[in-house]
Amino acid sequence: MSDYKIIVENVSAGYNSNIVLRNINLKIPQRKITAIMGPSGSGKSTFLRILNRLHELTPGAWVKGRVILDGIDIYDRKVNPTLIRKKIGMVFQKPNPFPMMSIYDNVAIGLKLNGIKDKKTLDEIVRRSLEIVGLWDEVKGDLHRPGTMLSGGQQQRLCIARALAVNPEVILMDEPTSSLDPISSMTIESLVKKLAEDRTIVIVTHNVQQAIRLADYVAFFYLGELIEHGPAVEVFTNPKHELTLKFVKGAIG
Amino acid sequence: MFGDKIFKYTTAFFAFFIVISFLMLIYELYKGSYLAISKFGLSFIKNTVWDPVNGVFGALPLIIGTIVVSLLSLLFSLPISIGVALVLVLYLPRKISRGLAVLIETMAGVPSVIYGLWGLYVLAPFLRENVYSVLQSMFGFIPLFSGPNYGIGFLTGSMVLALMITPIITAVTKDLLLAVPTSIKEAAVSLGPKKKELALIMIKYIKPGLFAASLLGLGRAIGETMAISMVIGNKFKLFPSSLFDTWYTLSAIIANEFLEATYDLYISSLVYIGLLLLAVTLAVIIIARIIIWRFSKVRGEI
């Protein structure tokens, strides 16, 4: 069994004639937190969305190269992106619970639409997912109320629970705390740490402090290029590249 | 993957249903009017006789009637619509303006037969007793104001149509006014703090959109059927003899004679009229749509 969950090989990507990522090579370790850092517009979100084939849904988007998940190139023509996405959950910058849908259904819908009908199983998974994100005690009496009624931090945790319910092996997070208040952010961060115990996490962050707090590995992007990557200790204590140093010290970004 | 394909092609099929219906509509109207087309050809458009008894049909008076009546209704409606839109946008507090806007938009949804009923039983008698008769007693020596006064007629018809298209033109004008950029409005304010200047500059700015709005209103007026048929008097003539005279339009003749049409050529001629009506309204709508589309594109680029 390889230590790497995802291996990105020679990936370039963009929108129409625009090149946004150039020849990226990166190995994402199993059951660790990999933080993707870089200034605005450096291609972090694009990179993340390539890993679960969301990128290609944007009109005009293109991608080249290979992304290998558990030994399978997910861009192989025979591969069904829907099945890939089942293995890779995603959490977005802004909490986005499904509208007009109860808290319960928000968590259960992924299972329901994937064919799981048994009420007991559903109840059980909903409960466990909400427990992991620490929401169960807060909402257990309000499961039928719309998910959009919750506070921003609660909504984001609901979205994480929703992703957890289908039991993904990888969770991608695109600046999951940037729209939240500091306390909610901290709650999410400790949750991320907990999730990494048996899942692979790739988290995009603008916030150097957050990367320092969370990351096992760090990849630093700048203008579409992967400037530097490696264990967090090395990148933060002894960056090899001047741009990385500047970014870590807060001089750019 | 498979489900997605089915889904895509199913929804596409129904979207194409609209396109297919549109093409079939043109074809079926042509087919329905084939008898009249083969008998009268294009001279149907310039013939001035409508004689069901002898099977002779021509549409010129109806075409003129339609043009005059719809232009008149636009003439009545446009200034009122602009005025109402300006009041809504510039003069009234937001809450009242919103409520009023809902009322006006709702009036666009009131069935045309209700406008017709009101035109026939309320407006026409009122105009006959209190307006037309007074005008006749004052200006009766001018041919334009002489002749019989029934209350119903093409002038009354134009007024009812004007009422019906005002909500449409007002709604578009209001939206255009609300979309005028602040920079333009500020330029107006710098000329002096008067609402009049502001209003005039905004109107000038939205002129192309206003033109399109007028065309939309015109298209609606041309196609409007039941109300006009109820108040125009339904008399086939090349020109009315006075302002108060009865007349006919393309749509009115269909409504008024369709159920009486007893033989194929008669029916076919009425469908032919529908075909002409379609051609005119399509031209008007398409021009209006293109103008709106270009207007929004130009504005979007700035």
């Binding site: 819908i109 | 249903f17 009101w118």
Partner: protein, 283 residues
């Protein structure tokens, strides 16, 4: 001194301008209020139990009601909705969810144009296509009403779906839910209010349509007796009754007008209030 005069003149012009605008408002509002007032005051006396329960009287006969017209109108609208709502929703889905395809802007344009075609012409189309083959019938009438509904439901569905943020779809995809399930069970659900609004508006529109009814099934005053036969219709009855010389029919015309006016106002105002409330919530 001179300056003062100029200023005064300017203020005067401004006032005159305001007055002209207010006049425009009044010129429009007076007839509108008159329409509502006259319909209510002339329609109300016609409304009694007989009006809703008795069939349409023959020309010149006293009494009677519009019961079979109510039945016929309900049947026509139900049939039209049966075609119009699914077709409109599905095509709206295509235009919104596959908007990256070039063909959609063409279809959207045709749809807008179709929306603007006068209803009498839609009626004539249905007449040539259906009534000419099977005779004046509720089928032909409902088909024409459906064609009037479809562009409205399509446009509203498309706009409502577009309001659902892209990240909602992406969140569903990243749960491994295929696009078709995402659209039907998640996106459509989020857009449901807007779509219902559009459906109510389109029903409000066809409930008052009389021109297409006239040319597809004509006037009829009996009960429903088969899809290939005509039914009675409230809106068309107003036209027929109003143009007749019979007092009793004219009375029924006003009564019917009042009922339709109330229905149309409700069908127009309820969805607008729903939309207002939604806006407030999004703000």
């Amino acid at each position: 001194m001179q300056l003062n005069k100029v200023l005064k003149k300017k203020i005067l012009i401004d006032k005159a301008f305001t007055i002209i605008l207010i006049c425009a408002m009044i010129i429009y509002l007076v007839p509108i209020i008159s329409i509502i007032y006259e319909t209510v005051s002339r329609g109300l006396p016609a409304l009694n139990l007989d009006f809703f329960t008795k069939p349409i009287p023959t020309a010149g006969e006293e009494g009677g009601g519009i019961a079979n017209a109510i039945q016929g109108t309900v049947i026509s609208i139900a049939l039209a909705s049966l075609i119009g709502i699914p077709v409109g929703i599905l095509s709206g889905i295509f235009l919104s969810e596959y908007r990256e395809l070039k063909i959609t802007s063409f279809i959207r344009f045709i749809n807008e144009v179709f929306h603007g075609i006068p209803s009498i012409i839609i009626g004539l189309f249905s007449f040539v296509l259906i009534s000419k083959r099977i005779g004046f019938s509720v089928l032909a009438a409902s088909f024409s009403l459906a064609l009037i509904m479809i562009p409205i439901v399509t446009i509203v569905t498309q706009e409502s779906l577009k309001m659902v943020p892209a990240t909602i779809r992406e969140a569903a995809f990243s749960l491994g839910i295929p696009k078709w399930k995402t659209t039907i069970f998640i996106v459509l659900r989020g857009a449901w209010q807007g779509i219902v609004t559009g459906i109510l508006l389109s029903i409000g529109r066809i409930i008052g349509e009389s021109a297409p009814i006239l040319v597809t099934m004509g006037f009829y005053r009996w009960w429903f007796s088969g899809l290939d036969r005509p039914v009675s219709n409230m809106a068309l009855n107003i036209f027929i009754f109003a143009m007749s010389p019979f007092q009793n029919w004219v009375r029924l015309a006003w009564g019917t007008a009042l009922v339709l006016l109330v229905l149309v106002l409700l069908l127009n105002i309820i969805p607008r209030l729903m939309m207002l409330r939604r806006e407030v919530r999004y703000e």
